[in-house]
């Protein structure tokens, strides 16, 4: 599962409607956590065979991100082209993905733990819930044997090892792998690989029946700037260090 998002180095500005961000001038990339997912899927294919399908919900433009994943080595893509999807919450997106996946045979679904635009951490586990399959989040290592998958996942303050049967869904954590770059031959081949572009009606969902998203952005702002740049002065490193500690203790009261 893949989402196209603004590159993490992008400056993000709020659009005139006040509830979305400006998209002009933004460089669009594959969500970094989804890039780990594509890479891991390719490694599993190389080790165990099978094929890798890329699934995305987004606007027509998201086909570019799918094409990049195909150039990395994935076999085919499915795009649910829904111009309204930018306003969907995680639950509605998961419902669409689950509807597609119900019709597409799979052994394993790999998703990013979160998309770095919404930072929602919801779509992967919610998709697994709608498909009634187990999921393991924030995976840094996996091994597949026959019909089972064993995963090392990060937890707060350490790692845990869990096992479950396939089919299952896992989400990626930094450290899982180092995604490959698309090679020139890969890019050439990707041009001929199929991307199946559908809309929600094609997969048997109608927007009305799905209802309005349950969470809705009502306003956006940029976080308040810090007063910023009070540079600690002093004749020596010693004096500066002493002054910083005094301020943190007496004024900021954090020591």
């Amino acid at each position: 599962m893949l989402k196209q998002v603004p590159a993490t180095e992008s400056l993000i500005g709020i659009a005139e409607d006040g509830v979305s961000v400006k998209t002009d001038g933004v460089k669009w990339v594959i969500n970094p956590y989804d890039e780990f997912a594509v890479e891991e899927a390719l490694r599993i294919k190389e080790a165990h065979g099978g094929s890798v399908t890329i699934i995305s919900v987004g606007s027509e433009k998201a086909a570019e991100a799918i094409r990049t994943a195909l150039a990395m080595g994935a076999d085919k893509g499915i795009l649910i082209n829904d111009p309204a999807s930018a306003g969907y919450d995680g639950l509605k997106t998961a419902r669409i993905l689950a509807a597609v996946l119900k019709e597409a045979p799979f052994d394993l679904i790999i998703a990013g733990q979160r998309a770095v635009d919404d930072d929602n951490y919801q779509v992967g586990p919610a998709t697994a819930e709608f498909l009634d399959i187990p999921h393991i989040s924030m995976v840094i290592k996996q091994e597949i044997t026959d019909t089972k998958i064993r995963c090392h996942r990060t937890i707060d303050g350490g790692t845990a090892i869990l096992e479950t049967q396939l089919p299952a869904l896992i989400t990626t954590q930094r450290g899982l792998n180092e995604p490959r770059y698309a090679s020139l031959p890969g890019i050439m081949k990707a041009k001929k690989k199929p991307i199946d572009i559908k809309n929600v009606a094609d997969i048997g969902l109608d927007s009305e029946h799905m209802g309005e998203p349950l969470t809705k952005i009502v306003s956006m702002k940029t976080p308040p700037d810090r007063k910023g740049g009070i540079m600690i002065q002093g004749d020596s490193a010693q004096a500066k260090a002493a002054e910083l500690v005094r301020i943190l203790h007496e004024e900021a009261k954090v020591l």
């Binding site: 400056l11 995680g90 770095v116 930072d119 187990p134 937890i155 303050g157 952005i217």
Partner: protein, 321 residues
């Protein structure tokens, strides 16, 4: 009449995590606002005794789901037990910490209940009968107000975002029967870095970046240890292999909100700000006066971190006597 607020407690090996107290404190405030009851739900094995520790944070009831099957956190078993309880009690609001456990369970519950979820939110407020949650998006570059429509409303709070307060509550203990239902996840093993403070819960985080010049983080570790804090790293320090990726603070790493964040030798890529912009006080130490981090810091020192940081550590040691 409101049907109440449910706070889900999180414990690891018989010790409640800080997010539990945060969720209970905020849960109490919400219950008071709605004029309803606050219930704490504790899941685990042999947790009846420790459950009493929650009383000072104001729950009217402490419900204990005690079973050997709940000793380790497994998303499916925990979700099943919590779901059954919600199904019976039909609370209006469910509150928990957006820890790794909380993220998994809240996402599953939202789908099973078809309920709105404010994931990793940092504040909430009521406007008439609407519940609005504030959460960061785009890696901290945007602060969004999100309205939750439907019931129950699930609030998964970012660790360290809420004040912990004591409150009066009857704290009546009640045990429930546990049925973990159909499960597919099997626990194999785990490793906890017990000597290492969890960075998302620490009150102080001291981070190092490219300016560290190598894997020797001892000056930073000494300062962090003195402050009972945690050590973080920028993406470049992790990419260089100087620190494990679990230490990374940033848009593709962890998001931290400590009281005090000290950035050492970190120039301040947008990527990094995303992970620490909700910190209360930010200090930057860098030898490049043009480093963008200074504009995002409350206080800056221009200088060599290997000289400054040990001096700061020494000054704090003097202060602490």
């Amino acid at each position: 009449m409101s049907k109440g607020v449910l706070a889900i407690a999180e414990q690891v090996e018989g010790v409640f995590r800080k997010v539990t107290y945060e969720a209970l404190s905020e849960g109490r405030r919400i219950a008071d606002h709605l004029g309803s009851e606050l219930t704490a739900l504790v899941l685990g094995a042999d947790v009846e005794n420790i459950s009493k520790e929650l009383k000072p944070y104001g729950p009217d009831r402490i419900v204990v789901a005690d079973s050997p099957a709940l000793y380790e956190f497994l998303t499916d078993a925990y979700t099943n037990v919590i779901y059954d309880f919600i199904h019976q009690e039909t609370p209006d609001v469910i509150i928990l910490g957006a820890s790794t456990l909380g993220k998994d369970v809240s996402a599953r519950l939202s789908a099973r209940l078809n309920a709105p979820l404010a994931m990793d939110c940092v504040a909430i407020r009521f406007e008439d009968n609407r519940l609005i949650a504030t959460r960061y998006m785009y890696g901290g570059k945007i602060l969004a107000d999100v309205e939750l429509k439907g019931t129950p409303k699930i609030l998964a709070f970012r660790p360290n975002a809420l004040d912990i307060t004591n409150a009066d509550g009857a704290g009546t203990l009640q045990k429930i029967d546990v049925d973990t239902g159909t499960t597919a996840l099997q626990f194999i093993d785990k490793r906890l870095d017990t000597d290492k403070k969890e960075i998302t819960e620490a009150d102080t985080v001291v981070s190092g970046g490219r300016g560290m010049g190598g894997p020797d983080f001892s000056v930073i570790e000494a300062l962090a240890e003195l402050l009972d804090g945690a050590v973080g790293a920028s993406r470049s320090a992790v990419d260089e292999g100087w620190r494990p990726s679990s230490d990374q603070v940033g848009q593709t790493g962890k998001v931290v909100s400590p009281n005090l964040y000290i950035a050492c030798g970190i120039s301040g890529a947008i990527q990094h700000f995303a992970g620490m912009s909700s910190s209360k006080v930010v200090v930057a130490i860098n030898k490049d006066p043009e480093a963008p981090i200074f504009a995002k810091a409350d206080y800056g020192i221009e200088g060599d971190l290997f000289e400054i940081v040990p001096l700061v550590t020494e000054e704090i040691r003097k202060l602490k006597g």
